[in-house]
Assembly symmetry: C2
Homo-oligomer: 217 residues x 2
Amino acid sequence: MSPTITAFAKSPDGGKGLARDMRVRWALEEIGQPYDVRLVTFPELKQPEHRARHPFGQIPTFEDNGLTLFESGSIILHLAETHKGLLPQNADARARAISWMFASVSTVEPPILELQTARFAEGDKPWTPERLPLIFDRIRQRLGELATHLGDADWLDDAFSAGDLMMVHVLLRVAPSGLLNEFPTLLAYTTRAQSRPAYQRAFAAQLAVATAQYSPT
Amino acid sequence: MSPTITAFAKSPDGGKGLARDMRVRWALEEIGQPYDVRLVTFPELKQPEHRARHPFGQIPTFEDNGLTLFESGSIILHLAETHKGLLPQNADARARAISWMFASVSTVEPPILELQTARFAEGDKPWTPERLPLIFDRIRQRLGELATHLGDADWLDDAFSAGDLMMVHVLLRVAPSGLLNEFPTLLAYTTRAQSRPAYQRAFAAQLAVATAQYSPT
């Protein structure tokens, strides 16, 4: 039996790979693990059946052999612990890669989420146009620090890891704002990651959901 | 040699245990691991010496035997993997506890950070009084979902774990707003965690830093 993940039946980004199932699909492709996808509609996200998988009514989730997990970070860490290819063998390098996994969601993503909240939940508020530059500056601060750390290296630590996978996906979520273009180092970093065959297979798989959604048949 | 963590030389909360070194201190106390603390001033946080430990110039960090980690989540996970007492032995229960670790920083904390940002970085803006109720509602949504999951259980999964430790500390950061009082289940949950001797030792240790800071000598 293959594991089953959940994804939006109709992703708000229309298949641009920005929803968080993309991270898990990519990790599954990196380790060569086939998987099934259960598509969940917005109303279904908040129903008890899905809440039993994800207490906060979100995607992605992961089900395998009686185990149910939520949060992309913990799903990817679980895959990394049970398969080769996502974390270094060396114990110290492995712990450092996990620092980057947490940094992606805990330090870099929060101002990016704030931008999404400003645009969607507060998009009609009179203060939003004046607030956006403040949020941009908070995102820039994190991107600048990340670019400084990366320098001219290919990856955050010695080799590609789940830390890069998660960080790159967080960065791609801010790309539509144009902010990533201000940091050539980070643009090259995300492009490098996107050229990985596993990324491309995962991207195609999530795009196929959107394409089927909008097909005329 | 004991590991060394970093903490604020002068914590903005004046010793209320809300800074993120508290999470790591608590985890170290749970496993009975003595530790040293390097206090870092605000200017020092942004200096190269500290940036080498923490690329984003924050606390806490963790140094042990040549290994340097940042991010409270990854430090606590590292402690949990190398000592008993913070994660269940059963593999599935362990993976679920790690889901809660990620949920604490990735799903529950972001709206709480948004509240802090509104109060401090945007405290002087004319829109802030009108925005605060919107942010409160976003926090309430997460707290409500968490309270529903918890129900009348003592802990998020079968037994106390690093997932509870991190979630409780995130919740305590919103307690000063009064929002936690709206959720008796969560108030009982945080109180239950705060009664653990390890929590109390960690709290006393961080308070001692603030007390020494403000002592007249």
